[in-house]
């Protein structure tokens, strides 16, 4: 009996590895076609001219866009910080509720995300625009109209409004899974509610904060639609610049170069942020 058992495993192992490969094939093809290939294209375009000769001109030409880069970084940092300041307490409060209330609150938070980002941004425009819904109410109440759309706060508001759920979700998921015994232990050792929050819950939810920050910062810095609509065309963020380059075939190469640099910047900032989380903090990006 023993003999027959020992003779079987090798072929079984091989067939299972073929199966594994077969199962992975669609994914591999997908990855190569839609992720690796486009990335290679971006690299190719970034280092070539329109007629295909190698050049570094596109990269050196980026100097013209320094101001746009700085503006984009500033705006998305502000939006991310605001999301964190609003999102963390919100996530904390939600996780304090009963399981049913939690489900409902999370649903409500997700609800706007079922609608397209463009539609949401358009509706925000309709609400905030000069002569829009909000200004109607304000003037009806006798406060006078406010010029909102076309200002930096409007763009930042748009980012916070659209990306807040990405901050709340990972933080909420970490806090709600936090072992109650840590909170009891903190209380046992003399922490009141606030100190339990700052000394135990906050550091233990660091991994959620890092995921949240990444998930808000990355789409914020690369957004173009929000800044176009809520910025009223006066705000040129890096996303807008890239979009504009790709609307004109003669500037594809510059667009690719900006995209490449952006990607590298995001990768660097993610790597820096991941260093803050300890080895057991699993960061979902």
């Amino acid at each position: 009996m023993n003999r027959s058992v020992t003779s079987v495993p090798p072929p079984a192992k091989r067939s299972s590895s073929i199966l594994t490969k077969a199962a992975c094939a669609p994914h591999t093809v997908w990855t190569v076609l839609f992720i690796v290939a486009p990335l290679l294209f971006v690299c190719y375009y970034a280092f070539t001219t329109e007629d295909g000769t190698l050049t570094l001109e596109n990269i050196t030409a980026l100097g013209e866009h320094t101001d746009t880069f700085i503006l984009s970084v500033c705006m998305s940092v502000i939006a991310t910080v605001l999301c964190l300041l609003i999102g963390y307490p919100l996530a904390y409060c939600i996780s304090k509720c009963g399981p049913r209330t939690q489900k409902v609150l999370i649903m409500l938070l997700m609800l706007p995300m079922w609608m397209n980002l463009l539609i949401r941004t358009y509706s925000m425009m309709a609400i905030l625009d000069d002569g829009g819904f909000l200004n109607h109410i304000l003037s009806a109440l006798g406060f006078g109209e406010l010029h909102i759309v076309g200002t930096a706060p409007a763009v930042i508001f748009g980012m916070v409004y659209n990306f807040l759920p990405y901050m709340v979700m990972p933080i909420h998921s970490v806090i709600s899974k936090l072992d109650k015994r840590y909170i009891e232990a903190a209380s046992d050792l003399g922490c009141n509610g606030f100190r339990t929050l700052t000394r135990v819950i906050l550091p233990l939810s660091a991994s959620g904060i890092i995921s949240g920050v990444t998930m808000v910062f990355v789409p914020s810095i690369s957004t173009f639609y929000i800044s176009q609509k809520l910025g009223g065309g006066t705000f040129d963020m890096i996303g807008d610049t890239i979009e504009r380059q790709f609307q004109n075939p003669s500037t594809y190469n510059v667009g690719a170069a900006i995209s490449l640099v952006m990607m590298i910047l995001i990768l660097i900032s993610m790597a820096v942020m991941n260093r803050f989380s300890d080895d057991e903090g699993t960061v979902i990006v």
Binding site: S187, D188, R199
Partner: protein, 378 residues
């Protein structure tokens, strides 16, 4: 006389989701005492501990500390500290910072903190572990850190919730001795929760046996072992044969068809009672000299003794003897008067003490807690 009572529970009741966990518990705990709450899982021992710690509020009744009612005092203001089941060490802090946690909250000067933590590490034999991550420590080491983290705050009372549950047997025995020594050295009152009767007997000054949300018996380990109050306690603390009997008169009890001399009195003549005889107190003799006769149904070698099950007219007795007897042999049993303990009938009568269905396997199955903890550790 009441001055040395540090914790007093008065008429404590607690219900979770319509299920009553504690039925009107009354308990006095003296200062500097090592008290163990002992009982099977679900008996309410952990809930009692959590009420003292301030993690649960009783539905009715009062908790007194040093004579002051502390029902409304939150956990962080109570002069007690807890060693949690599975330790609950903070994973984001190293060993030093875990132990220093309580002192940092008190805003002690850094030099004082360093000194006290070093002393504490020395006391729990973890010198040089300051900068280790708690997640890299073994179960026994985490245990020591948890104890150090609690003791450094100089609590009046230390609460320990099955602290040795997740350790292997050898380490457990060592830690029992260490804990007892620490308690003596620091003079702190220890309230210890366990389901392990051996642990309770070997460490405690006072054992509180609990079952079904009620305190069954409070006493010293010897009292509890030698004078169990009912069938539950007799069965839970060590092995016992529990037989139905009748008190003929003072110092005379009749059971298993024989009238025995005993040392108990104060029962009504003819009163139905439970009779407890410990397996090690039954002598095996020849059938002619025996007070009772039975057929050996199984013999198990246990190292320094044999554990035999004897069928005495349908009731299976467990006997521990150093002499070998053959299975299927007919033997006589001799019981000395002081080996017989008479108990009043209780709700637990007839539920324990017969070894007809006894096996080691069943014994383990009825005690799932430690296994669960082992899994959690992996």
């Amino acid at each position: 006389m009441n001055n040395d009572i540090i914790i007093q529970l008065k008429d404590i009741a607690k219900t979770f989701d319509g299920e009553t966990i504690l039925h009107h518990i009354n308990l006095d705990i003296k200062d500097k005492e090592f008290v163990t709450l002992l009982g099977p899982s679900g008996c309410g021992k952990t809930t009692t501990l959590r009420i003292i710690g301030g993690f649960e509020t009783p539905d009715t009744g009062d908790v007194y500390f040093d004579g002051k009612r502390i029902n409304d005092l939150p956990a962080y203001q109570r002069p007690v500290n807890t060693v949690f089941q599975k330790y609950a060490l903070f994973p984001h802090l190293n060993v030093f910072e875990n132990i220093a946690f309580g002192l940092r909250l008190k805003k002690l000067p850094e030099r004082e903190i360093v000194k006290q933590v070093k002393d504490m590490l020395a006391m729990v034999n973890l010198r040089g572990f300051e900068h280790r991550k708690v997640t890299t420590l073994s179960g026994g080491q985490q245990q020591r850190v948890a104890i150090a983290r609690a003791l450094i705050n100089h609590p009046k009372v230390l609460l320990l919730d099955e602290p040795l549950g997740a350790l292997d047997l050898k380490l457990r025995k060592d830690m029992q001795v260490e804990l007892k020594n620490m308690q003596k050295k620091t003079g702190i009152t220890f309230i210890y929760v366990t389901h392990d009767q051996e642990e309770a007997l070997s460490m405690s000054d006072k054992v509180v046996v609990m079952a079904d949300g009620c305190i069954q018996q409070i006493g010293t380990p010897t009292d509890i072992y030698n004078e169990p109050i009912n069938a539950f306690v007799a069965d839970f603390i060590g092995e016992s044969n529990i037989v139905d009997g009748v008190m003929v008169s003072d110092f005379k009890a009749r059971f298993s068809g024989h009238t025995f001399d005993c040392v108990d009195s104060g029962f009504a003549p003819g009163e139905q009672v439970d009779v407890v005889v410990r397996p090690e107190d039954v002598d095996v003799v020849t059938p002619e000299r025996g007070m009772l006769h039975g057929v050996v149904s199984s013999v198990t070698f246990k190292g320094d003794y044999y554990e035999i099950i004897v069928d005495v007219s349908g009731f299976k007795w467990m006997i521990e003897t150093s002499d070998y007897v053959a299975p299927e042999a007919t033997i006589g049993l001799h019981i000395e008067p002081d080996a017989i303990h008479i108990m009043k009938k209780s709700e637990y009568s007839d539920r324990f003490g017969d070894y007809s269905s006894f096996s080691d396997e069943l014994d383990k199955l009825s005690d799932p807690e430690p296994e669960e903890e082992e899994e959690a550790q992996q």
